[in-house]
Symmetry: C2
Subunit: 453 residues, 2 copies
């Protein structure tokens, strides 16, 4: 008897052909190492997930959960000799309750599909990672995904009320609640959010919803330097503005999107800042005016409240498409540092310096409003020397973020790429606390071993 005989999953959903399993063994972090799994298993129910994890527990075999594979830190990469548990077919929205403002979904539901389903009831699921057309709620929960509007509306953890999951010992449990409030015991549901598949495999999520937001006003600012754009971000924070999105996109990204999608983004600027203000009525008008003033005060070459809805939608679409557009040009190493808002200009300067020092192209997209920056280190395919230089630039950026009081990962997770960064960020005692909690909930260490720490 091998473990494959004990999974309790029909053979047509136990994939072992190496060509097939290879394509399902990694996420979108092109630079992270990938293991060779024993099999990729597609589960359809919580009970099937439980059966697979229980078999892995008996055999002490690693199990790595997988959603859409859009992660950017290697968190869903297969482990040698382990099982990859694909949850993409568990894709049903089980319940939408407009009165309680919640939805119950399976982990494989695509973020945008959930958003579309609840919009029909006048409701909104705010967390909107740029991967929202593809990424799943299960993956969003595993990484505590953020997105564009979390600067005002919060991240995935803020919207998870409860979970059903399978523990490291193969037990199927419910954590959290359906009520608006609740303090019965530890917040184990919140602990599982962002734990990157190392504490449990989520089989159902109860999410909090909000009413659909009012229509927003877009303000665009064009800047001749990225540091000027950073000053505009800090100025808007100092002015007490609370934009519903405040995104930065540089000319590398706009050019890559244009080359791919031919969107006609003929922007004569080094960097564009895009703000959304969604206070209702006159309050929104006033906020938009003040945002324009912040942009101008920081030296924008052009700042305007958008009157062209199509144009502002195109700019936001370009921001969302920046990552896949750059991926077309060569291997992309994605950064995800987050610094205090007041340090954004300095951090952007440090990123420029890393690019110059190591002779690397660094494109920049950023959730600038909350200090979460995504410098994208792009190299030509096959240029190993450039790849080595990019790794040095990556390390410099991580070190600079910590020096400025920031964190090594704002929303992508630690996965494999940020393991050294985590050790630099957390004290040895706090890392030991992580190991103790992991040991407590996954005593055989079968859940996504080798990730995070």
């Amino acid at each position: 008897m091998t473990i494959l005989d004990e999974l309790g999953i029909p053979a047509d959903r136990v994939l072992t052909d190496p060509d097939v399993t290879a394509s399902l063994s990694h996420d979108d972090a092109e630079w992270a190492p990938v293991g060779r799994p024993l099999a990729v298993v597609r589960a359809l129910t919580a009970e099937e997930v439980q059966s697979v994890v229980a078999a892995c527990y008996r055999h002490s075999v690693p199990v790595v959960a997988r959603g859409a594979g859009t992660g950017l830190s290697g968190g869903a990469n297969a482990v040698d000799g382990g099982i990859v548990l694909a949850l993409d077919r568990m894709d049903r929205v089980l319940e939408i309750d407009p009165l309680e403002r919640l939805a119950v979904v399976q982990p494989g539901v695509v973020n945008d599909d959930l958003r579309a389903a609840v919009a029909k009831e006048g409701l909104w699921y705010p967390p909107d990672p740029a991967s929202s057309p593809w990424s799943t709620i299960g993956g969003n929960v595993a990484t505590n995904a953020g997105g564009l509007c979390c600067v005002k509306y919060g991240v995935t953890r803020d919207y998870v009320l409860g979970l059903q999951m399978v523990t490291g010992t193969g037990e199927l449990v419910r954590l959290g609640r359906r009520t608006a409030k609740g303090v019965a015991g530890y917040d184990l549901a919140g602990l599982v959010v962002g734990s990157e598949g190392t504490l449990g495999i989520v089989t159902e999520v109860t999410v909090k919803l909000r009413p659909l937001p009012p229509p927003a006003i877009t303000v665009a600012g064009y800047f001749a330097s990225i540091v000027d754009a950073g000053e505009a971000v800090a100025a808007s924070a100092a002015a007490g503005l609370t934009p519903a999105a405040l995104e930065l996109v540089d000319r590398h990204c706009l050019a890559a999107v244009d080359a791919w999608k031919n969107m006609g983004l003929s922007v004569e600027a080094e960097v564009v800042l895009l703000a959304r203000l969604d206070e209702p009525g006159a309050a929104g008008e006033l906020a938009a005016e003040r945002m324009v003033a912040c942009f101008e005060g920081a030296g924008a070459t052009y700042a305007v409240r958008s009157t062209d809805e199509a144009e502002s939608e195109a700019l936001f679409a370009a921001r969302r498409l920046a990552y896949p557009a750059l991926e077309r040009l060569g291997p992309v190493l994605t950064e995800d540092v987050c610094v205090p808002k007041g340090r954004v200009p300095e951090m952007l300067g440090r990123i420029e310096k890393a690019a110059t020092d190591h002779r690397i192209t660094i494109a920049n997209i950023a959730h600038a409003g909350d200090g979460n920056l995504h410098p994208l280190l792009v190299v030509d395919p096959g240029d190993e020397a450039a790849k080595a230089r990019a790794q040095l630039a990556f390390d410099d950026i991580v070190a600079a973020a910590l020096e400025l009081g920031g964190t090594v990962t704002g929303e992508h997770g630690v996965g494999l790429l940020k393991k050294p960064g985590l050790v630099a960020e957390l004290s040895p005692v706090v890392l030991d606390m992580h190991r103790s909690v992991k040991q407590a909930l996954d005593p055989r260490g079968i859940l996504n071993p080798g990730k995070v720490f």
Copy 2:
């Protein structure tokens, strides 16, 4: 050498006189059992807290942290032979950063004092338990305190960015972050919030702030029955309204406050609902109109948008004073169940039934908008038979809340009073997960033993 010689605290802050320690050995849950501590120790610094916990670790002596003692579940009650660690003198606001919208405070800072300090910078710390004039941020963190405005603005956990704390092994650690976002490792800071002193003793808190909210409109509704008021709550949820507060106060509470403070609350109604709407401008006006309509539709005898600021302030003040006012009349057993919003009318009916069945006076205050109900079971001093009946009514209310899909504690915590309720609410496997996490972070079980589970 006894443990008292090893605490590292000057003798004048190590209190051992039983008359003195008794008064500092319990919180405000009058019905919960209280132990006799070895000493009450007043710490002034994080290092002193660490020194005390380290001594307790070496001697395997229990240590119970204490703020203002306003808790309502017995969570801060002393344990026989243990140390009570009083943190009320660690009461400094260390930093307010308007640009990053955060404050760093010691655990003994009183909630209202923090609110006043940040208001000077145009900022707001939303969590506002009714105990806010007395309760401390440390205690608020320990219980994940809610309050009036959390129906719209969230609870304590939503505002804790980071913590400094002493672990069960006497290590001083920092958890969490100062940045707007961050996913570096497990959310151990969030895990500690609401853990009622069983996972660590918090020595510093970094809290997120918001801009001060716009002025609010108050809507008051008077109802002839408590179930009607519950229907109005459910109707406002169904209408998609998001009040900044939606409080219920019954005539028992109003009468008790009036008898104490002589506020002239001559309300001719069984129950009053108080709503605050704080959308800016016309949106707020519209929301207020719709709230009036919800109240009227549910059978309010009188519903009005308040035009008298003093009157509406008096009503909210009465709501805040209800608990201490009732305490003057006799021992109060406080409930804290939370049910789905749609089940509020039914739950209020069940509370009435428990009062009738067990011939007990039950006064009602409630954060009705999020389904968090605080029936207050009042008995005459010395009436032991009534006390026994009240306990039965309490148990009926807990059982009804669970039956309606609710939780046994919305915001007060488990402490001692809700330990049986927790066992009823959580599955044995989930309780075991709690024990494993506790064991992982407090291996000798010295932190507030015997509480929660």
